[in-house]
Each structure stands twice: as structure tokens, then as C-alpha cells.
Amino acid sequence: MGIIFFAVFGILCGLVLAYAAKKFAVKVDPKIEAVRACLPGAN
């Protein structure tokens, strides 16, 4: 019973969080990552 409840609860919360992440998504310019990947990253 407990296992079922927490599984359902976890899945529900996960779905809500996934939806929130999509809704509040921040556009990150892919160029920033691409340029950073080219740099040595020493600092």
C-alpha cells in the first residue's frame, strides 16, 4: 500500500515538475555552450 502510494506520488510530482520545467524553460543560446566547449576551460 505504502509502496503504491509513494510510487504514484513520486510519478505525479515528477510529471508536475517536468511540466513546470517546460513552462518555465529559459532559452540558452546554443552558441554559448559551443564556444565554451572549444575553450580549454582552465579557469
Partner: protein
């Protein structure tokens, strides 16, 4: 503008949670009474009762709710002029934080016996809640008297604006998670006899809210998000945020008490952060001995704050 939208959303979520909680609160079926000074209590009957009956002390039985066998000796019973309310005076002072039961045997009104009545005498809900709020905020401030949550406390108290941002974010998370944890604990964990899982469930619940705040804050206020940095995620492992649901679970707090304890702890933490950040901004321009530069002097200041907060101990308004 954007912060206000964030606050409105959180406020709405709080309100919805609260509404659910109000619906589940139950009413007492017995009559209620109230304390009067430290040696008396007042009970009121719905109808005028006989003076002879009311002044016979053997008609009243008074005991603390958990110990029905220990009777509390009554000194006198005085009926008011309309004969509806009686004031019971006791030989010894009462413990106003306990719950008392007054049993009135064979209540007599104009010669007719109406049967026995029971009265529950305790502090008003608002007084209890205020005491919890004040206790968590000042008297037992989690940072200054229990030394909990020091990681975030030292991490974000360098600047006033981050301190205020963290204080607000923390208060929202702790209020939401304290209420949610109360619901999960009393309706799921206790009902299914899974009390031993409480730490895991509480941490998971806190993590859900922190993840939500992280997602929303990233969009709504990127500046504050960047300033808070890793400490925003570290709220999950903050001791205060785990301590509050555990204290609630151990002391059997109801929904409102849980919410109030969370609110008090959150405001107390925000207050501590703000005070500390004010001092640390000034410390930046002070000539601190090199040995104490940075964190060591911050610890010393915290100690001084803790000493100052000792002044709140013993504070009681009701």
C-alpha cells in the same frame, strides 16, 4: 515586478493548501471554557442555572485531560448576575499550557435536572499559534539558539540583497514543505504505520519544492538565481528545513501549528540572515586582524548575536 509575480504564485499555492487543511479540521463536541487570571477559569452554560446547585463544590470535577484520576481542588464557584456563566477559582495556580476538563454533574436549571455537562478548558488556538510563531522566530531561533542551518547562513549572508532573496525563498519553501509533510505524515505514514520512513519522505518532499523553486526562480529572477548559486539547491540539505517537520511529527502538531512553526522558522531564518548581512557588509570596510579575516570573524559575530538572542528567553505575552 517579476518577484511579485513569483510571490503571487507561491501565495496561491499556500492558499490552496490551507483550504484543504481547513476542510479537514474538526470541531469539539463538548462545551468550551477559558482561563481567567492564573487561578481561575470561566465556563458558561447555555441556560440560567440554579445558584444553590452552582455553589455546591461537589457538583464540579476538574482534572487535566491526560490524568482524569488527579482531581484539582476547587476553592470557590461564583455565578454571574445572569446565572449563565460560572467562575471557578482554584487553590493552586493552573498550568495554562495544559488542557483541563471540567465535569458539571446534574446541571440544574429552575429545579429541573438537565444532565451532566463537560467543558474543555484550554488556551485559545490563536494564542497557541502566536506562541509557536514567536518561539520559533525569536526565543528558540533555529540559527542562534540551536545552531542549525549554518551552511546557507554563512554562505549567503555576505550581501543584503542575497540575504533578503534567500530569506524569502527559504520561508516559502519551509512553509510549503512543513504543511505538506504534516499531511503526508498524519494521513499516509501514520495511517500505514510507516513512521520509520519519515526522514526519507520529508527530504523527498523538500526536494520537490526546492526543485520547483529552482525552476521558477531561474526564469522569473535570473539575477537572484545567479547570486544564490549553489546555495539555492543546498536548501534541500538544510537542517532547519528537516528539523521543522520532524519537530512537528514528534510533538503531534496539527495543521495550523505545523504551518505556523514553519512560518516562524522561516521568518526567524530570514531575520538572522538579514541581521548578519548588515553586520558583514560593515565588516568589509573594517580593519579586522588578518587571523580573523573572513569566516572566523563571522563566527564570532554569530556568537555575539546568539548571546543577544538569549535576551528573548523567558519572553511570554500571554
Amino acid at each position: 515586478m517579476q518577484i511579485s509575480r513569483f510571490l503571487v504564485i507561491s501565495g496561491l499555492v499556500c492558499a490552496i493548501l490551507l483550504m484543504g487543511v481547513v476542510g479537514s479540521a474538526t470541531a469539539d463536541t463538548v462545551g468550551a471554557g477559558s482561563f481567567k487570571k492564573d487561578k481561575g477559569m470561566e465556563i458558561s452554560f447555555g441556560v440560567p442555572v440554579d445558584k444553590n446547585w452552582a455553589e455546591n463544590l461537589s457538583n464540579f470535577l476538574v482534572y487535566e485531560k491526560p490524568d482524569p484520576d488527579i482531581r484539582i481542588p476547587i476553592h470557590s464557584v461564583v455565578l454571574d448576575t445572569r446565572r449563565v456563566a460560572a467562575t471557578l477559582t482554584f487553590k493552586d495556580s493552573l498550568n495554562t499550557s495544559a488542557e483541563y476538563v471540567v465535569e458539571a454533574k446534574d446541571v440544574t436549571s429552575d429545579g429541573k435536572i438537565l444532565g451532566s455537562h463537560q467543558f474543555l478548558v484550554k488556551k485559545g488556538q490563536a494564542q497557541v499559534l502566536f506562541a509557536i510563531l514567536l518561539g520559533a522566530m525569536l526565543i528558540n531561533n533555529f540559527v542562534f539558539t540551536k545552531y542549525l542551518g549554518l551552511c546557507i547562513f554563512f554562505g549567503v549572508s555576505q550581501k543584503k540583497e542575497t540575504a533578503i532573496g534567500m530569506g524569502i525563498t527559504f520561508t516559502i519553501v519551509i512553509v510549503l514543505s512543513a504543511t505538506m509533510c504534516w499531511a503526508l505524515y498524519s494521513y499516509v505514514l501514520q495511517a500505514l504505520h510507516l513512521d520509520f520512513l519519515k526522514i526519507i519522505v520529508f527530504i523527498g518532499t523538500v526536494a520537490i519544492f526546492v526543485q520547483a523553486v529552482d525552476t521558477i526562480l531561474r526564469k522569473v529572477n535570473p539575477y537572484l538565481f545567479k547570486k544564490l548559486g549553489v546555495y539555492l539547491v543546498l536548501i534541500v540539505t538544510n537542517c532547519i528545513i528537516l528539523a521543522v517537520p520532524l519537530i512537528n511529527a514528534d510533538s503531534g502538531h496539527g495543521p495550523f501549528s505545523s504551518l505556523t512553526l514553519g512560518l516562524g522558522a522561516g521568518i526567524g531564518f530570514a531575520l538572522a540572515l538579514f541581521l548578519m548581512s548588515c553586520v558583514r557588509e560593515k565588516l568589509e570596510v573594517c580593519r579586522v586582524p588578518p587571523t580573523f579575516h573572513g569566516l572566523p570573524i563571522a563566527f564570532i559575530v554569530t556568537g555575539l548575536f546568539a548571546l543577544a538572542f538569549l535576551g528573548f528567553s523567558g519572553l511570554s505575552i500571554f
